[in-house]
């Protein structure tokens, strides 16, 4: 019933969007934001989706900045997205091992994804970033990223205070920096290639599986603090936030999330140092009641930006330390330890150059996930398993991007991921003869917003 509703909503909004958007030829980011503000993509983004200081303020103030000064926007703030991709791994995956019944190699996904956005001012101080997606890989219509905000400004100690509330369905979706799991590099990656088995709960596990309501404040363009409380979207009032998604991580009770950062801007540079975290209780796989496991995520992050009209450079990094208390899963025989640790480190360097021929850019990233040995949790299995029970994976991502001139809503991405280690080893990592380098992935993505 919910899937039919999501599909219907997608078709209705998509049709309405085409009628509204077709005559528009202007390059405008998430185009409804651009129409609303009258500004180009590059005002709010270095290369989208990375945000500039102005873009961060736009998001912080609830997506409602508008040149029209009307209480509501008409036509409604609709935008669209279309992605097509090609994925190649250095070695084909065995028959049946590829995700979503994809081919063993050289997958063309057309579309990889098609989305409709409701993104912009709803009413006065209330705005939203809502995405409804057809996933061409899994052949599913889903309620995708959703962030509905109320925001206002006042003064505290004579300095401006932006304060607000966010209702969203993915921890760190509401964040304005590009260090965290949702908005961090590489922004998009192959969904039909093998990926490391282990990830912290805060690192994407709960996306579209939960709904959360929180409060935040940003004082004097300097200090930010936020608390948010998430619960499962499998039932209850947040259920529509997981529309079309099968909820596999069932959260027990309420999961608190917090975020702090301090930032400073001077001339064309900005620097942020921050901390975020979350405590989540999740029922073991297949269970809906009784005891649950507890995952405590403690993270630190930092980002530096240098932005001029032609040159844009940034460095972003995050480290997540997760403490896993797995008593419930251990009792069921799902893990070999009562507790584990898992650490995730990522850093990326980004540069783009704007000229009359378009925007040319490149990214270089290093990632490393390492943690406790658990031979039950990380067991041998073709492609996705671990021979030695370790979750350790590390490697590099090299990426080139191109955005055409006067058409900033299009982007071409060529991305190559190189694995030094995968699920615990460099050679024969899965116990079935597959090496880490066999999963090196070439990913070509074309990305169009309208």
């Amino acid at each position: 019933m919910l899937r039919r509703l999501v599909r219907s909503l997608f078709l209705v909004l998509g049709s309405l969007g085409l009628v509204i958007l077709w005559p528009s030829g202007r390059a405008q980011g998430v185009p409804s934001f651009g129409r609303q503000t009258g500004l180009e993509c590059s005002a709010c983004h270095t290369v989208w989706p990375e945000l500039t200081p102005y873009g961060r303020t736009f998001k912080m103030t609830g997506y409602v900045m508008s040149k029209s000064q009307k209480i509501y926007e008409f036509p409604p703030p609709l935008s669209g997205l279309f992605q097509a991709s090609f994925t190649h791994t250095d070695k084909s995956q065995p028959s049946g091992a590829a995700p979503f019944n994809s081919s063993a190699n050289d997958n063309v996904n057309l579309p990889q994804q098609a989305s409709v956005y409701y993104a912009g001012k709803i009413l006065d101080k209330l705005g939203a970033f809502m995405q409804f997606t057809y996933d061409g890989v899994s052949n599913a219509f889903i309620v995708d990223m959703t962030d509905i905000r109320f925001a206002d400004t006042t003064k505290l100690g004579g300095k401006p205070l932006v304060y607000g509330a966010s209702f969203n369905n993915a921890p760190t979706m509401q964040d304005v920096w590009n260090t965290g799991p949702v908005w961090g590099f590489p922004f998009a990656s192959a969904s039909v290639a093998p990926t490391p088995a282990a990830a912290a709960v805060i690192d994407g596990t709960l996306n579209q599986q939960v709904g959360g309501l929180g409060l935040y404040g940003y004082w004097n363009n300097l200090l930010y603090a936020e608390v948010n409380f998430y619960r499962t979207a499998a039932n209850g009032y947040p259920q529509f936030l997981s529309g079309g998604t099968h909820v596999t991580s069932l959260v027990n009770g309420v999961a608190p999330y917090w975020r702090l950062f301090i930032q400073h801007q001077w001339k064309n540079q900005s620097l942020m140092v921050g901390h975020y975290g979350m405590v989540t209780q999740i029922f073991p796989e297949g269970e809906t009641r009784g005891n649950s496991d507890t995952f405590t995520d403690i993270a630190f992050d930092a980002q530096y930006q240098y932005i001029t009209r032609k040159h844009r450079f940034s460095v972003a990094s995050t480290w997540i330390h997760e403490i896993q208390n797995l008593g419930a899963s251990y009792a069921l025989g799902n893990t070999g330890n009562r507790s584990n640790n898992l650490d995730t480190f990522r850093i990326n360097f980004n540069y783009s150059y704007r000229c009359p021929y378009g925007t040319f850019g490149g990214n270089f990233a290093y990632f490393n996930t390492f943690g406790s040995r658990d031979e039950v949790l990380y067991a041998p299995d073709p492609v996705s398993g671990s021979r030695n029970g370790l979750p350790n994976s590390d490697g590099f991502i090299i990426q080139g991007i191109y955005v055409p001139p006067k058409w900033e809503q299009a982007k071409i991405v060529v991305q190559y991921t190189i694995y030094n280690s995968f699920n615990g080893a460099r050679t024969n990592y899965d116990g079935f003869g597959r090496n880490a380098g066999d999963n090196n992935t070439l990913y070509i993505l074309t990305w169009l917003m309208f």
Binding site: A43, P53, T57, T61, M65, S66, P160
Partner: protein
Amino acid sequence: MGKILSWTLAVALLGTAMLAAAGPAKAQVERGKQIYEEKCTLCHGSDGKGNGPAASSFSPPPVDFTAPGFWKGDVDKKIADSIENGKGAMPALDLSGKQIREVIDYMKHRFK
């Protein structure tokens, strides 16, 4: 006849020089006004006082173009540099050199 022609030509040349010295054409200022209203009003306000609808979100606040201190020094260069490269929270804007000139002319006409 020759004298009349010479005087007519001299008057015409003098008039053209005076018009050029009088400042930018009205059409140029009008184009600058359109660009300012499209790109700048949101933060700097339609009256240039730095009190646009989005102004309260920024610290420091958007510049007040009506403040006497703003118009000291090489203002043309200061404005052009901010538009071309951005400054602090202010983003760089995609305007041509001609458009930047038109916005500066409008700002001088309206706020100075």
